[in-house]
């Protein structure tokens, strides 16, 4: 018996391969394409699926610079971190944004075309936001793993061609 329900299985498969066809999903999960299409529509409508994207390896050669920014903020009396987080999230430069536990409060991944681009965003836009107390910028140097995929995986099929 499958260890997951149908909706969870569809999500898991799409996370692994966003280009998988409705037909293949139906065949793998032994159901109809109509059922799969309904599930996907529902997941999209409920914003459980936010989009479909390519997982790329090419960050350091592409014309973009990524940095993690650790931000300490002063929470507001009624809204906590939400108002300031939502304000920061609206910047196009911010690719992902989390509220985290630990030494800082907001954890951002910021994308720019150059070091100066990112530095400018942090110094002019981010640190000047009301409530922001400090920013630590960590430029990403090399990617080893992305979305569960290890880059430069050297493991091939080492099995014998026929075994009992």
């Amino acid at each position: 018996m499958a260890t997951k329900n149908l909706q969870t299985s569809v999500l898991a498969l799409l996370r692994g391969n966003a280009r998988i066809s409705v037909q293949e999903l139906a065949e793998r999960l032994d159901t109809t394409t109509a059922k799969i299409a309904t599930i996907i529509k529902k997941l999209e409508a409920e914003k459980k699926i936010l989009g479909y994207t390519a997982i790329t390896s090419a960050d350091e050669t592409a014309d973009e610079i990524r940095a993690i920014i650790e931000v300490q903020v002063q929470p507001e009396r009624d809204a906590g971190f939400d108002n300031i987080a939502q304000r920061i999230a609206k910047f196009d430069e911010v690719a992902t944004l989390y509220l985290v536990s630990g030494s800082h409060d907001l954890h951002l991944e910021v994308v720019g075309h150059s070091l100066q681009d990112v530095a400018r965003f942090v110094s002019r836009r981010l640190s000047s936001q009301p409530g922001v107390k400090s920013c630590a910028t960590l430029f990403l140097l090399k990617k080893y793993k992305e979305s569960g995929i290890v880059l430069d995986q050297e493991e091939g099929d080492a099995r014998l061609k026929v075994t009992p």
């Binding site: 018996m1 499958a2 260890t3 997951k4 299985s9 898991a12 498969l13 293949e24 065949e27 793998r28 999960l29 032994d30 493991e155 099929d157 099995r159 014998l160 061609k161 026929v162 075994t163 009992p164």
Partner: protein, 400 residues
Amino acid sequence: MRVSKSPHKTAAPRPRVAPHIAALPKSGIRDFFELVNAMEDVISLGIGEPDFVTPWKIREATIYSLQRGFTHYTSNLGDPKLRLAVCKYFARRFGGSYDPKTECIITVGVSEGLDIAARAVISPGDEVLYHEPCYVSYAPTVRMAHGVPIAVVTHAEHDFVLQVEDLEKAVTSKTKVLMLNYPNNPTGAGMTAEDKQKIAEFAVKHDLLVFSDEIYDELSYIPRSPSIATLPGMRDRTIVFNGFSKAFAMTGYRIGYAVGPHDLIDAMMKVHQYSMLCAPGPSQFGAIEALTNADGERETMHDEYEQRRNVIVKRFNGLGLHCFKPRGAFYVFPDIRSTGMTSMAFATSLLKEQRVAVIPGTAFGECGEGFVRCSYATSMADIETAMERIGKFLRKRGLP
């Protein structure tokens, strides 16, 4: 005065190989392997082991055990921590309760487990019932223990589930052991709780010992039911064999275990201590990690196999080769009789013409004639390509 004559001058030369070993057939897969191995670009559906590499946390735990210098003999029965982990895992996943100190032994895979169990309980002439088609080692294991293997045929119309009526025809006063392997290699057959109940009643009725090889149980695609050893009257007569190769993709680790009543495990331990001494230490440490910390990885692999099964079954039936939906393991056993070819001719022609390797059903017993074993422990992309090639192969012959 007695004159001694040299026996070497008159007697026939003594055979160098023991007759019962000389009489063993070589595994039918062997010849096929040689054929496949000599070819390039073959997509192999002939591999009886997971295509996944052992989950990293298990490999890492193994490496760490080496770093800490755990490179010595362990207890003959196996490291106590591993036996404890095995018994806890068994209770959690298969429903039976065993004492890690006296009712559990760590073996070098299920194959060694079956071998030492056979040598521990079989006396010359004892008959052992086993079902065919089956894994290639069963009959030889019995013969090497000087027992008499008696094959009980399972049938396509029962989706290869062993039937009590067929067992009743084969059982005699000399029958001592019944060997079971469900989920099954090569057919993918599996037993429901009801199927197990019937077999258990048969074993109790005839007072048989039962060797239950449950290596594929974690790869079940029907609601899992407790091990046959947990059914009434069964605990004291059943040795359950299981291991890490299939559920945790650890074939090369060569590590497995057996649980059963103390007297039988103790007897197996004697054979084990004088032949194997103990299972490899590093493998035992990897196995602890598998049992205690790798449920997620196991489930991910299980689900992937189940999905591939769904696809490959649909493809075979779509091509007109009837294929029942396996209840477990990672094999399908399509019926190729409609092609008019023997299993060997089918497999050989398919390999030569389309570069797809499948195993002739006859490698798993004569009653496998008319079927081939296809493993879906290979990527979905390779399965799709293989199935397209099999389609071409059939169309060239005007089939279906």
